[in-house]
Symmetry: none
Amino acid sequence: MPQAPVAQASRKPSRIQLRNRKRILDAALEVFSAHGYRGATLDQIAAEAGLSKPNILYYFEGKQEIHVTLLNQLMHAWLAPLRAVDPDGNPLEELMTYVQRKLDMSRDLPRESRLFANEILQGAPRMAPHLESVLKPLVDETAAVIDGWIEAGRLAPVDPRHLLFSIWATTQHYADFEAQVRVLTSAQDVHDTAASHLDRMFRRLLTPDRDVI
Amino acid sequence: MPQAPVAQASRKPSRIQLRNRKRILDAALEVFSAHGYRGATLDQIAAEAGLSKPNILYYFEGKQEIHVTLLNQLMHAWLAPLRAVDPDGNPLEELMTYVQRKLDMSRDLPRESRLFANEILQGAPRMAPHLESVLKPLVDETAAVIDGWIEAGRLAPVDPRHLLFSIWATTQHYADFEAQVRVLTSAQDVHDTAASHLDRMFRRLLTPDRDVI
Amino acid sequence: MPQAPVAQASRKPSRIQLRNRKRILDAALEVFSAHGYRGATLDQIAAEAGLSKPNILYYFEGKQEIHVTLLNQLMHAWLAPLRAVDPDGNPLEELMTYVQRKLDMSRDLPRESRLFANEILQGAPRMAPHLESVLKPLVDETAAVIDGWIEAGRLAPVDPRHLLFSIWATTQHYADFEAQVRVLTSAQDVHDTAASHLDRMFRRLLTPDRDVI
Amino acid sequence: MPQAPVAQASRKPSRIQLRNRKRILDAALEVFSAHGYRGATLDQIAAEAGLSKPNILYYFEGKQEIHVTLLNQLMHAWLAPLRAVDPDGNPLEELMTYVQRKLDMSRDLPRESRLFANEILQGAPRMAPHLESVLKPLVDETAAVIDGWIEAGRLAPVDPRHLLFSIWATTQHYADFEAQVRVLTSAQDVHDTAASHLDRMFRRLLTPDRDVI
DNA sequence: AATGAATGAGAGTTCATTCAT
DNA sequence: TATGAATGAACTCTCATTCAT
């Protein structure tokens, strides 16, 4: 019967507790994203966090809990750009901004991208519930917005979900497949050329045909 | 000092050897693609193949050799559609055909897609050499062909490598992120709607502007 | 990435660590000397030490490290009698004392003797460096001393290295070939009769001829 | 229920059988003497013999039987020099000849020497019976002969068994501890210098004092 | 709040031996 | 006679987790 913060989650955590949980999660992000769930070891995480292994387990019930906590915690930041899409804004610009934000996140948060990719790739065994409860409603909502824009003729007709898939796939590719991208591109400005490429691609896709209207 | 086919790899393999090696590789594909390299165990592979664990090691020197053999062996089939792009064909149709073939492969060979994704995601520790020696030359060659088409005005201007990244990302997404796609799409005809979506997207991107000509 | 004293070998070891490392090395000496390196198992060592097998590996990185540690650690004690030979002492008595000390060691430290014999017998795969760097210089030095004594006429002429080989061989024989000695000698005082036999043999060999002087 | 030569040991073995048994035993000698019983593998022996592993087991019931057969078979040759000591010959020369023959055997049959050393070193688990039944009587007999010589004043007084131990130890040392001898001696004529050293040593030991008589 | 010590449950791998032909 | 194929048992080593302080 552990008498640790794990069990008394309701108690207000101390300064040290907060700092250490943050340290652990940051170390875990580093390790999990680089080696996958099974490939990561508590020893690596402990070393990366500068804490002892039992101390890690003082803050989290186990390896799995660290992983799940990490996934759930990052989910919020991960979906922020999608939540920022404004139904009342200019449809094309809202979506193009979304593309750029997602691409920026691939550059700035590649570990998070790879963490999610690893999880989904293996069938989302630890994150399936969250996909249903958090992601799905958000996607449904956004799809409705996009459908509305299309019906209003402000956007070329497109399947909203496949559009989202394409945006996610193309932007996250630069983080998830970085090892491959690095081999195939000699240029240093991958991010910038990718940005203009994706801007062109999605702009062409989404811009409604003037003459049709 | 091993005791069998492993050591005499040059000798012509018997019927049983061929059958069992195939069984093992098929089982390994199933297990590695689902759990990643570290997450997969020889026990799982043995069970999946219907062989005993030591018998697996009678045919392969170890877990790693199975994995590398699998990667190298699949590389060929995996790149076939790209090799099939005909420099003398109609540029737009060649590329659109390539997109569809890649999408078909995501549906027909999802395990292969996930196997590669797993490997790249973790930095391609066991496949980096092949990326350099096999993939890079092929991509360089294809990029030159596409650049030629663009210069001839037969294709809208586009960065060839980013184009390829986008094609790979969007098509493989349906295999690699299947767990997510399944949650977010209720329709049964995901493949068909994806096909028409990607066809529209890349056709719009690649079709040269009439007035420019 | 190990998790403990193994990794922080430089830190000062705790009481428990010292005790358990000693236990393990003692158990390992027992098992390695009786069965050889390959014939010994961690299970045997663990049982002999009264520790669990993983706990053995908490203190040593692996079977090989235990063996090497043991060899290096014993080397010092093993060579002590040779180091104790005093260049300024009476030549004959110095050497006869050395013989008796070596014989005593065979009786008192038979496991150590067999451990070294096992290692040398198989080509010294794990101890060759130490033979070169530790044993050879010491032997060279001692040989020079003996040569000096001979030149001074204080010792009968003899090849110093072959003399050492003979001393080592005859004294260690009682430990290394104990199983055979036991079968062939019924007497209980093997050590004492051996002592007087070897004393006579080496004294006759080394005593300079009176008429020569 | 094997129906192989193993079971029908009484049947007269064919030409091929004899040749293969010889091959196997020779290969086994090579491997066992180099790596010890546990360190040797049937695979190594099979490779060395140029036969398949199951074929090895067609001729011998198992690893242990090969080892025991080898030991017993070599015992005869190994003891030949001792049997050749002639009770009616000149005592000193008989024994000095024995010393030289044993030293020659160390040079010519080092593998046999190491095989026996390995076995005795580990307590003679597989050869103990033979020591009792074959070696002991021979040694008892020889000891009686030597004692007779001493009583007749034809040999300096010496414990016959310790004498034999010393002869065995010093001569076999050059085979059993070859790895160490090689490190410590730079000369190429180790055998010759050893021969004269041992000749001097044992001659001094055994020559009866003239003035005493 | 923290950690050195310890371990059960596997992991990959080796090897003497057996099976089937 | 001979050997490819197969395996049970055992081996070294790893790792998430627990114990004791």
